[in-house]
Symmetry: D2
Subunit: 348 residues, 4 copies
Amino acid sequence: MYFSSDNTGPVPDEILAALTEANQGYAAPYGADPLTAEVTRRIRDVFEAPEAAVYLVALGTAANALALATLSQPWQTIFCSARAHIHEDECNAPEFYTGGAKLTLVGDDDKMTPQALRLAIEAEENRGVHGPQCGPVSITQITEMGHLYALSEIEALCAIAKENGLPVHLDGARFANALVALNCSAADMTWRAGVDAVSFGGTKNGLMGVEAVVFFDPAHGWEFELRRKRAAHLFSKHRYLAAQMAGYLRDDLWLRCARRANEACARLVGGLRGTGVVKFQADPQGNMVFCSFPRAAHQRLAAEGAMYNMTFGKIEGDDPDEMLGARLVCDWSISDAQIDRFVALLVN
Amino acid sequence: MYFSSDNTGPVPDEILAALTEANQGYAAPYGADPLTAEVTRRIRDVFEAPEAAVYLVALGTAANALALATLSQPWQTIFCSARAHIHEDECNAPEFYTGGAKLTLVGDDDKMTPQALRLAIEAEENRGVHGPQCGPVSITQITEMGHLYALSEIEALCAIAKENGLPVHLDGARFANALVALNCSAADMTWRAGVDAVSFGGTKNGLMGVEAVVFFDPAHGWEFELRRKRAAHLFSKHRYLAAQMAGYLRDDLWLRCARRANEACARLVGGLRGTGVVKFQADPQGNMVFCSFPRAAHQRLAAEGAMYNMTFGKIEGDDPDEMLGARLVCDWSISDAQIDRFVALLVN
Amino acid sequence: MYFSSDNTGPVPDEILAALTEANQGYAAPYGADPLTAEVTRRIRDVFEAPEAAVYLVALGTAANALALATLSQPWQTIFCSARAHIHEDECNAPEFYTGGAKLTLVGDDDKMTPQALRLAIEAEENRGVHGPQCGPVSITQITEMGHLYALSEIEALCAIAKENGLPVHLDGARFANALVALNCSAADMTWRAGVDAVSFGGTKNGLMGVEAVVFFDPAHGWEFELRRKRAAHLFSKHRYLAAQMAGYLRDDLWLRCARRANEACARLVGGLRGTGVVKFQADPQGNMVFCSFPRAAHQRLAAEGAMYNMTFGKIEGDDPDEMLGARLVCDWSISDAQIDRFVALLVN
Amino acid sequence: MYFSSDNTGPVPDEILAALTEANQGYAAPYGADPLTAEVTRRIRDVFEAPEAAVYLVALGTAANALALATLSQPWQTIFCSARAHIHEDECNAPEFYTGGAKLTLVGDDDKMTPQALRLAIEAEENRGVHGPQCGPVSITQITEMGHLYALSEIEALCAIAKENGLPVHLDGARFANALVALNCSAADMTWRAGVDAVSFGGTKNGLMGVEAVVFFDPAHGWEFELRRKRAAHLFSKHRYLAAQMAGYLRDDLWLRCARRANEACARLVGGLRGTGVVKFQADPQGNMVFCSFPRAAHQRLAAEGAMYNMTFGKIEGDDPDEMLGARLVCDWSISDAQIDRFVALLVN
């Protein structure tokens, strides 16, 4: 019963097979191999963006920090949600990579609203050299609290950014989960809505550690390449990143994994609702649930080895009815049996 | 009628005299001159801190950024008010000097409360390597909105910092104004309360451009010296910084200037109150007033050349009674006549 | 006939097997998995250093830059060879990671001599705050030109560093090739000689992309962990780094790979010597050869698809006898047949 | 007998007078005052560059580091002499301000030759992302060893830079000394020769601490303004920088000071030659002499309080005839009497 995160499960066999297949003979280093070229084409196809600049890195934080550094200047501020991964979970990587840019937190929630973004931008304008200058807007889709932006919401945020001449980055660590939830195309969720650069996540959706950075304007490409090399994120044996990504895209494995994770989560939510003792903090929309349920249930689950993060409250305590918070994450590998057992333990 | 800022007036004649006096013959460069040694001793005396490491720089932002960089690590976050100069008015200088540390805004006001500070620190703890690590606490005395921290308030903030093992920096751009307002000693307002490093401002209180950085633990000294040199803030002809500071401290010129500025402000506040048309955003406590009064009065003042910053509303407009915001700052050089004329214009 | 680099060949089957084996069920992320713990122990055993702090990253440049940043300050200079990878091939990664430290090139060769190191250190001493401060010494073993430092040479360099209070880093991208060439222990080549931190390379010796950083003083550990996370080099699915390293160390695979590469190189050198037309720039000691031979031979090799880097001269040209430079690198996977065919083509 | 440096003497009375004159009433801060506007015009006139972007800072290192950071990228290398101030005497300020750019030392001397510059650039080209990218060329006029570049030499260096698309910076800490030595115009020595940005020094030639940065292409202006503010080099009471520069340029004070310093140096050199015991390391061309003379003479000079830097050898020692090195610097304030006495002491 592993619901801790979508970075704790195994990878699909197809990924290991792709690595094995790629492990033949000589391959030019640093991305000059044919598999990298093929993967680049495939990602351009996915995004319907034949000119896009596409790069692979191994970590989502690297993808975010390098993309944002490429889009910003050190004297700017990046607009993001107060719960954004780039703010809360990257140990100042964006500040490091940008050379000291600031992050301006837009609103208090995990989703930015257009109004809050507009206010945040206006507060930084007309400050001359004194305040930070306005820099990129970074949107997390799916958010760190498991929420989806509708296409219209992404469009509205991008429209405000564009009015102010600001580029837009999309942190898509759970890009595929969002895509299957919205049932839209990758182009719709990105450049058609106004997004300039995407961190196209693979690691949380079944890869060992591969993400793509996509710039729809290839003019950013060379600077990104230099930043990636300087930051020690350019793999010499690049074929092994490319192989994973190739396996991920082949036969829609990436969409199948995401669909499975979202369906598992829906099953879990359905089960949790059925218990009558679970309160949901928000409507679950992807592969994550934030909810609360009584201490006694937490204790039963813990005794049986269920793994997940508690978001508030302490499992030790006298009151068996006190509601304690949980974050439950499903990945592609979770079985219905695990879900059902988790739900069953929750009620008795 | 100059109320724009305390960086727009002239310097006292004593400062020019001190420069002239220092301008004799040879002096060793980079702070190795006797006048710098004398000033160092004098500042240690002011702070009753015979071991303190004392350094001169020309700008308040340099003092703040260098002091904070010395007290922090790039993967930390600095706790400060949402209105702190280091956050709003230094174009990312703290982020630049620290190598990418973050600033965590404590509460929404210009003064931090102990409760808000405690919450902010707790929110960053126990994040392992994922979040930023807790770094220095920076207190602005007098705040950017003209408010004073009582000694007990500084002590309370320092106590929380100490409980968490965090150093405390005091941004004293208006240190002297605070000191005469509190009628306490420099030691009381700093190390006795728990402060580790001070930006001891001179520029806003009558100098051309000199600030001292004081570390009560001299172990920070050598690192600061290297940071100052590397940042191009070590003057070769250092005697001209030292001369200004010597003139500033001689015969309590610094305290006389600050007293005069505060008294001028009190006279201004008294006059404003007497008009019956001024609303004060907060109780004025130093040399700055944040208030609002009707558009018609703003227009009359502007027509007569009064200089000050508007904080909200636009002077153009139809409604003569609409209340528009103003920040009024008094420096040592403002005359009673200017104040009285300002007040007189405000009422008719 | 692939002699371009030791980053262009496949990985041994054992590495893929180790990945497959590790790909079972749930594993705690970010290095909290049992396999990472096991690998840490194994590396400590290899180095006979039970207290050492050991970390995995994916790239050699990351290992070098993070290790050096941990050992240095931004106002220092790092002493290294004029041909060091950290100087020539990392696109300013050390400068980026250290926050702007300088690199001082010691001598003109790929190997630093004790005399040259002593002179370089002395030139930076007694400069007060004006020059950079002396920082770590970085030794590359095997050098970028394929040369070995004898143990006595490493000891002599470390002794000078220690006299001056400077830490020593060893860039061991080809650590295993050096070890089998010297036929000594890992401890002899590092801490017993005075080395403080090692980049223990795996990628050039058969891994997809895994290196370990080893600090013999574990006090450096926590800072390194924060630097690694901030730089986006902490893998969430860390087990896949650990698995590769586990496979690498199991049954001495790492030593077998290195031995094979060195033996292949010796066979190549023997063959080249036998031709009578090859000049060696230096005595080959590991798995790399720098040499020159006539244009006509280069042209024959190119026509047959031999891959290697030319170090000087142009393959197009009229004079068939002009000597042109080549760098030939052997990895574990090169076959005797390839070597022999290469040699055969060279002579006719 | 003060020959230590041109940063140890007093400032001309005209500078104090200019400060006094400027110290009247209110002045808009941060460079928005009329005196700054006037000085900007005057400097444009000096350079015959009516569109130039002109900024004041207080220190030469700030001028250099900010100008170079504006012209470069963090992944580039800056080409400069092995004896350049930016390399030897700024404690890594260029590395700090550029965000980690490298400095490539061109040749071994204080003057770069066109051939050496061409070789240095070629060595960095065609490295793809692996090496640093080629960045600005920085020329020091007068060099740190007191040598002048002829106009044709500056032109030749700039021509090579331009062929390679690289911008050129001129470190003019002793700009005026060079100008009067070459007897040319400021335009000739800079943009007409191909220079893009100048650090126009004032401090070593009589100011307390003011330098101008001049960009002949004003497109660099806004970035420079942001960099200056972020680095805490934008003075709030900017009029006091402007006043000094105004006094410096008025009635050619700057040229008179430089001429006097150069003439004093020529008198000193003449005197030294006359003694028959002085060896000159190079032909003195500005206001600095590098030479050597016997220990006994050093001892006599020291006994009488002569101040200067020794460049090699130790004053304590048995052999009275051993030649020991000296750097002798003349500033505007040195008297003929001091010079003559120095020379007299040298011979007996």
